[in-house]
């Protein structure tokens, strides 16, 4: 069944060119850093290029005086995993709870919006002060984790709103009519249907946490996450190492994305075969 083909209006070509230009704008500077990450050992962060070489990729692995990229990378990764798991559990539960109005729902909603729009550094400032007042040491998995949740949870909640909005409650009613308990309905009906959206919440929270700077800088304590380390590297010495990290990040992103797309495609295929 091919859809009815009609002639494309001129707006299609106008907007299509705009999108193409935007993608060029988006990837243009990225291409330059991919190129410059292969800069020769004596080259700097700008043209001209001397090289190609992979010394700056090797430099990532060797902890220098300025920065220890591998250690902070593992630290950021573990923090992002924890943040993402907590965000999924808390915001999926909240998203389901918000489907009906309940006393106090307005307050919680506006609290989440306020937390989202609060300038990031100020959240870290408040939490950092709080830890000092209470006499607690700040740390990656205490204060920094908390600061990041004030950012990922509202995002997770808004995403869940979009997800549950598309969910047809008739499925739950049907399950209840067939004698399923609320718990069985949740586990066997609601969550599996919402799964792609829930995965989106997890990936989104992971990304936000992994790249978070302004909330973390005042709450991380003595150890650095990757963005903090990158920032230190940026203000101390400029070398193409940062570009090499950018190149690797992009390769990893595309690989992960490909994997996810294949997973989703397989899930859809399975679902389609179940429906048939």
């Amino acid at each position: 069944m091919t859809p009815r083909r009609e002639k494309r209006p001129w707006t299609f070509y106008a907007l299509g060119s705009l999108v193409a230009l935007f993608l060029l704008f988006l990837y243009g500077p990225m291409m330059v850093i991919y190129l410059l990450s292969f800069q020769g050992p004596n080259g700097g962060t700008t043209f001209p290029m001397s090289g190609p070489s992979i010394v700056w990729f090797e430099a990532i692995l060797h902890p220098g005086q300025m920065a220890n990229i591998p250690v902070s990378f593992v630290r950021s990764l573990s923090l992002a995993v924890v943040v993402s798991l907590l965000t999924v559990v808390i915001s999926v539960a909240a998203g389901l709870g918000f489907r009906r109005r309940f006393p106090g729902s307005g307050i919680v909603f506006y609290l989440a919006v306020a937390s989202l729009v609060m300038p990031s550094l100020l959240v870290g400032f408040g939490i950092g002060l709080g830890f000092q007042v209470l006499g607690l040491p700040s740390g990656i998995f205490t204060s920094a984790l908390g600061a990041q949740l004030t950012w990922t949870l509202p995002f997770g909640l808004l995403t869940m709103f979009a997800v549950v909005n598309r969910f047809d409650r008739a499925y739950e009613e049907a399950a209840a009519d067939l004698g399923a308990t609320r718990w069985q309905t949740l586990i066997h009906v609601t969550l599996p249907i919402l799964l792609p959206g829930i995965l989106g919440v997890g990936v989104g929270a992971f990304t936000l946490s992994y790249d978070e700077y302004a909330r973390t800088v005042l709450t991380a304590g003595s150890l650095n996450t990757l963005p903090l380390e990158l920032y230190a590297l940026l203000s101390s010495a400029t070398s193409p190492t940062l570009f090499a990290i950018g190149t690797i990040t992009t390769i990893v992103s595309f690989t992960l994305l490909g994997g996810m797309l294949m997973l989703v495609a397989r899930m859809q295929r399975r679902r389609a075969s179940l429906v048939l």
Partner: protein
């Protein structure tokens, strides 16, 4: 009564509270209380060795009588408005293309992901990526000179307001595309067809149907972009060439100097400023009602 039904059941709103409870707890403990804390600290006294509980308005007085405060707010507001206008134009048109013009679901997904992937690279790296691109010997200048548009390198490209705006647009356009695409995808295409059949021009359909129905996404995207620019930490610092600071980078200098009370006073002023602007935007649409249907 079906088998397996417990003798007592939670009432619906109790279930809701159980589900929303953890979120509420986290937000109160990690957002509301810390905010309250720096509001309190903003009235404190301080010297080089520590801060002392007090109730004084000196921190505010000093902040609000310094011309630098108004200068930095004005410059941030200018950036926010320009970047908002550009990202709204780009975000709306790109989202419209993705939702209404692209016919295959798979191509739509791929295009959307292409827009989203650079978001996964650290904002710090994406910011400095513009330096070799816009610099004196940068890619743009090389290109312009190669095609003889200009004979000597353009200086205004890097370390200028222009560079700051370009970087912001590069960083934040996705925040506009996402919410607007979500709103647009809820519009029934049959509605647009009906408008066309009834004789509406393309422009009339856009103004009277598409834009009103995507108000929620536009508002949400605007709030995100606006607050990101107002809360910016390092783009202005890196890209303006050091002549100007952003509100937050100025504030962080005070925090690093352990001058907590004046930093807290600046924070309170910034929060009030952002809150008023966001509340204004949220008056346009009842975001909550729109989001939850």
């Amino acid at each position: 009564m079906p088998i397996g039904t417990p003798i007592w059941r939670l009432r619906p709103h109790q279930v809701s509270w159980l589900q929303v409870g953890p979120l509420a707890l986290v937000l109160v403990a990690l957002f509301a209380l810390p905010t309250l804390l720096f509001v309190v600290v903003s009235f404190f006294d301080y010297d080089r060795t520590g801060i002392y509980p007090a109730f004084m308005l000196d921190n505010y007085q000093e902040l609000l009588t310094t011309p630098a405060t108004y200068r930095v707010y004005l410059s941030s507001l200018k950036f926010a408005v320009i970047v908002w206008a550009i990202t709204l134009f780009l975000g709306f048109n790109i989202a419209y293309f993705l939702v209404f013009h692209v016919r295959g679901a798979r191509i739509r997904l791929v295009l959307f992901l292409l827009c989203a992937v650079p978001f996964w690279t650290s904002a710090i790296i994406r910011t400095i990526a513009w330096i070799p691109f816009l610099g004196r010997n940068g890619a743009i200048n090389q290109l312009l000179m190669a095609v003889h548009v200009t004979s000597k390198p353009l200086e205004f490209l890097l370390f200028s307001d222009f560079a700051v705006i370009v970087t912001y647009v590069h960083l934040f356009t996705l925040l506009m595309i996402g919410p607007i695409a979500n709103s647009l995808s809820k519009i029934d295409p049959a509605l647009l067809e009906a408008a066309r059949d009834a004789g509406a021009s393309r422009w009339q359909t856009m103004v009277n149907i598409v834009i009103p129905l995507s108000k929620t996404g536009i508002t949400l995207g605007s709030i995100l972009v606006f607050t990101q620019v107002m809360g910016d930490f390092f783009v202005v610092k890196q890209m303006s060439g050091g002549q100007s600071a952003s509100i937050v980078s100025q504030l962080s200098t005070e925090i690093q100097a352990m001058q907590y009370p004046p930093a807290a006073a600046s924070s309170v002023v910034l929060v009030l400023f952002v809150a008023v602007m966001v509340a204004g935007m949220m008056r346009i649409v009842d975001v909550r009602k729109e989001l939850l249907g």
